[in-house]
């Protein structure tokens, strides 16, 4: 039987004394584990959250972020700027967040678990809270927090929460939330975050409690430029509405509209954007989710990128179009309501043509100085 490289290597009796170990820090270890966990876990599914006033579809990808934590500086050694640490995987997306965030140090202890919000930041669109979690019992590799982040005035919210183990019974994480609809204020965010249970993914029982935080955040300074430029492909119109520049990031707001003919052909249409500047620098960014009609064909999105190069004079935006049909592989949904009930539904249909992707014509914008 034909052997592949890994089997051939298995047969080698190499002298492993030729290899020397190198010292590895806890941070490096955590970083490798996180990268691996990402690589081996299937892509996050589409989630919807239902609220009284609006149905929102949120294209959600998990942000991984961590935190700095002065109060825990002794117990989580070496971790002084996790914004930077965890952002490095995303080409420095969060490099400057620490500088513009506010130190919170709000701690809540319940059922032997202390959750402390360390830094908070509101960029006018999205709230970022970094937190540390310290437990008197093992919570496994990948515990999840159950609860809701709420922004006053929003009809719905898209967001993410990721927790990373950094030591024995110690975790750091980041929760983000972007509010939609209603009376969302872009200058101030009144945020409530309540957690009612923590679930150990390794199969043990949930730990219940009432960790509750309320905070008011002022938005970082920002400058907004109206863009209103669009490009069209095969029944899909993508329009870039506006650009908001903050000291640590920039946010692009864009929307998609899908015509009737294409709706009949495909169950879902998603638009993403890739961005570079005229100096050739590519920005990685992180989608904030979006809101739109119930079917998800006409959607408003926003995406946050790392700090803009001050020398750049143009942004080149490349819209990417994905057309797909739902299969059990790529689709499942969960509805979460304010009273905490959760319903899960997934489609089990599998079709032959399940996905097509297109690159649309670039939209080039001159940056206002």
């Amino acid at each position: 039987m034909m052997k592949d490289v890994y089997e051939l290597l298995n047969e080698m009796d190499i002298n492993e004394n030729e290899f020397e170990e190198m010292e590895v820090s806890e941070i490096e270890r955590a970083k490798v584990k996180r990268a691996l966990r990402n690589a081996i876990t299937p892509r996050k599914k589409r989630w919807t959250r239902n609220t009284a006033a609006a149905v929102l579809a949120a294209g959600l990808s998990v942000i991984m972020l961590g935190m700095t934590f002065p109060a825990y500086a002794n117990s989580i050694p070496g971790i002084d700027n996790i914004f930077r640490l965890l952002g490095s995987e995303r080409s420095g997306l969060f490099d400057h967040y620490k500088t513009y965030s506010s130190e919170m140090n709000l701690a809540e202890k319940e059922s032997g678990i202390t959750i402390t919000i360390n830094d908070a930041l509101f960029d006018g669109e999205t709230v970022f809270l970094t937190y540390a979690l310290e437990s008197d019992q093992d919570l496994g590799v990948n515990p999840t927090l159950h609860g809701l982040l709420d922004i006053k005035g929003a009809n719905g919210l898209a967001g993410s929460n990721q927790l990373t183990r950094v030591g024995h019974n110690k975790y750091v994480g980041l929760v983000t939330g972007t509010g939609f609809g209603g009376e969302v204020d872009s200058k101030t965010a009144n945020v409530k975050w309540s957690i009612d249970s923590i679930v150990n993914q390794d199969g043990k029982a949930a730990i219940t409690g009432d960790w509750h935080f309320a905070l008011k955040l002022m938005a970082t300074e920002s400058m907004t430029q109206q863009i209103n430029r669009s490009t069209e492909h095969n029944g899909v119109t993508v329009q870039v509405d506006k650009l908001s520049v903050t000291p640590m990031s920039f946010i692009l707001y864009f929307n998609q509209a899908v015509d009737q003919k294409l709706r009949e052909q495909w169950e879902a249409v998603d638009v993403g954007i890739k961005v570079k500047d005229n100096l050739g620098h590519r920005y990685t960014g992180q989608g904030n989710g979006g809101a739109g009609d119930k079917e998800g064909y006409n959607m408003n999105w926003s995406k946050t990128f790392e700090a803009l190069d001050p020398n750049a004079s143009q942004l080149i935006i490349t819209p990417l179009l994905s057309l797909y049909d739902y299969t059990s592989e790529n689709h499942g949904s969960m509805e979460m309501t304010r009273d905490g009930s959760v319903e899960e539904a997934s489609k089990e249909r599998v079709k032959a043509k399940s996905r097509q992707e297109y690159v649309l014509e670039d939209i080039v914008i001159d940056l206002r100085k």
Binding site: M2, K3, D4, V5, Y6, E7, L8, L9, N10, E11, M12, D13, I14, N15, E16, F19, E20, E21, M22, E23, V24, E28, R29, K31, V32, K33, A35, L36, R37, A39, I40, V141, N142, D202
Partner: protein
């Protein structure tokens, strides 16, 4: 059941994530050592990080192909790490003119022709290696996948340099004739 040094291989092969975590905890210092030794001259920390992640992903994806106990596993993961690091090194050398073929050749005894063949005909190379008798098979894996030079190979296998060189020469001749019939080296 908790993962430990006795059951981690089995759990890894059954795609239990805690086994992967165990492997990272246990072998990261070693893997870091192997990759740094090969890739440090390129002065690209991002590439080293990427390579380390890639090694663990490959171990995760190919665990089912591994047979043996913990001691063999240690050897295997070292071999995979060396193989991946050399692969990254070659790809980078191809991009960066300054450390072009000559450097790769000097350091790892890989000539430009060899490299071209590794890049374009990896499948044929693996197939060809499968046809060799055990001793030549070891020599070829060490040379092409682990980047060992003639002297190191000789040391590993208890052969003289001349004997290793001779076997490589004969093997390569057969290989190039196979990959590129009618061509010559």
């Amino acid at each position: 059941m908790r993962v430990n040094e006795n059951n981690f291989i089995q759990r890894l092969q059954r795609k239990k994530e805690d086994a992967l975590e165990f492997v990272i905890d246990t072998y990261l210092p070693l893997i870091k050592g192997v990759t740094h030794k090969v890739l440090a001259p390129l002065e690209n920390d991002g590439m080293i990080e990427e390579c380390i992640n890639d090694i663990f992903i490959s171990v995760w994806n190919n665990a089912s192909k591994f047979t043996g106990g913990p001691v063999d596993f240690r050897k295997w993961i070292c071999a995979v790490a060396k193989f991946k690091s050399i692969d990254y090194y070659r790809k980078a050398s191809k991009k960066v003119e300054v450390i072009s073929h000559t450097a790769a050749e000097l350091q790892y005894g890989i000539s430009a022709e060899d490299e071209l063949m590794i890049r374009e005909n990896k499948r044929e190379l693996v197939h060809f290696i499968n046809l060799l008798e055990p001793i030549d098979r070891n020599i070829f894996v060490m040379k092409f996948f682990l980047g060992l030079n003639t002297e190191e190979i000789g040391r590993e296998l208890g052969l003289t340099r001349a004997s290793v060189d001779n076997r490589i020469y004969r093997g390569k001749k057969r290989l190039y004739n196979k990959v590129n019939p009618g061509g010559h080296i």
